[in-house]
């Protein structure tokens, strides 16, 4: 960790990250929430189908479940 952030001797050009990419990150985070965390707190309970289907994944990935 210590050596990671030095003043670059020969600068690496920054990558231009389009705004759309950050929208993608947000969308991905939301999708992860629906898949792994949604326990009926935010969405209609018809989403319980997804909840039940991804059930084992939730336990395996260590997120709270039953």
């Amino acid at each position: 960790m210590a050596a990671a952030f030095t003043v670059p001797a020969h600068t690496t050009a920054p990558i231009r990250v389009p705004a759309l990419a950050w929208a993608l990150v947000l969308l991905g985070t939301l999708a992860l929430y629906v898949m792994l965390q949604e326990n009926g707190a935010l969405l209609h309970h018809s989403w319980m189908v997804a909840h039940e289907l991804f059930h084992d994944g939730r336990h395996a990935l260590g997120v709270p479940c039953h």
């Binding site: 050596a3 003043v7 990250v17 990419a21 991804f54 084992d56 994944g57 395996a60 990935l61």
Partner: protein, 250 residues
């Protein structure tokens, strides 16, 4: 390097890591889930109510594998985008080492810290009445853990111009340990108690195996993405030789 080819490689690496984890979940974690469900059903049967499941166990196993793959792809996309944004600030030798370093940070903040405070539980352990509270606790810890990683990264940059290089690393290690120890100490513990015939052996097996899956995901993503990106970077360099190289050849 531009964003698009980078994202593509992050997605491919995420997919590969997700597939690896799916196989691992199916072969290593599912047997312990089955053991836990057997305990759970025995307890329910004793109390005279057999729960009706929406899906058969085989479908849920398929769902568990699918969740692992989707998780890998999405984490890959997010990781790739964050890497694209911070890559120019990481002055490590090449893509492999830069990606490995960021993957280590991601693994620590997103997998290790939550696993220490709120370790994984097999089915039948959590109290259905506390699921809302446990979800909030988990997400709050996750958010604070990521925030700490960002703050420590900025602290590293800030310290660089203010302390000797020899002191920099030590200070940063002390700050990291102190910050995460404090976070783990001040966040509230899980409200649940473990009961209903779940043995310590089953709980331990499950927690170790679940953590192994998370480690496998970050290891696969970190090495796969680094390797793909390094290969891409070498090819791009070959295609457009630097002026000095062109000069020596002429």
């Amino acid at each position: 390097m531009s964003y698009k080819p980078l994202l593509l490689r992050a997605l491919v690496a995420g997919l590969m890591a997700g597939l690896l984890v799916a196989i691992y979940v199916f072969a290593v974690i599912e047997p312990t889930i089955d053991r836990a469900i057997a305990v759970e059903h025995a307890a329910e049967h004793d109390h005279g109510h057999d729960a009706k499941e929406m899906f058969a166990r085989t479908t849920q196993k398929g769902g568990g594998a699918a969740a692992s793959i989707i998780y890998g792809v999405i984490v890959g996309a997010i990781f790739g985008t964050v890497y694209a944004a911070v890559r120019h600030r990481l002055s490590l030798a090449n893509e492999v080492t830069r990606v490995a370093w960021l993957a280590a940070v991601g693994f620590g903040a997103v997998a290790l810290v939550p696993a220490i405070k709120y370790p994984a539980n097999p089915p039948g352990v959590g109290d259905p009445n506390t699921i809302g509270q446990r979800t909030t606790q988990y997400l709050a810890l996750l958010a604070l853990s990521i925030l700490l990683a960002v703050v420590l990264t900025h602290l590293s940059g800030w310290l660089r111009h203010r302390v000797a290089p020899s002191a920099h690393g030590a200070l940063l290690v002390v700050a990291t340990v102190a910050a995460y120890a404090t976070l783990l100490a001040i966040t509230p513990g899980s409200p649940d108690t473990i009961g209903r015939g779940v043995s310590a052996q089953l709980l331990w097996d499950f927690r170790v195996r679940s953590f192994g899956g998370l480690a496998l995901l970050w290891l696969g993503l970190g090495t796969g993405f680094g390797w793909l990106l390094e290969r891409h970077s070498e090819r791009t360099l070959e295609a457009t030789p630097s002026p000095e190289l062109a000069g020596t050849r002429a």
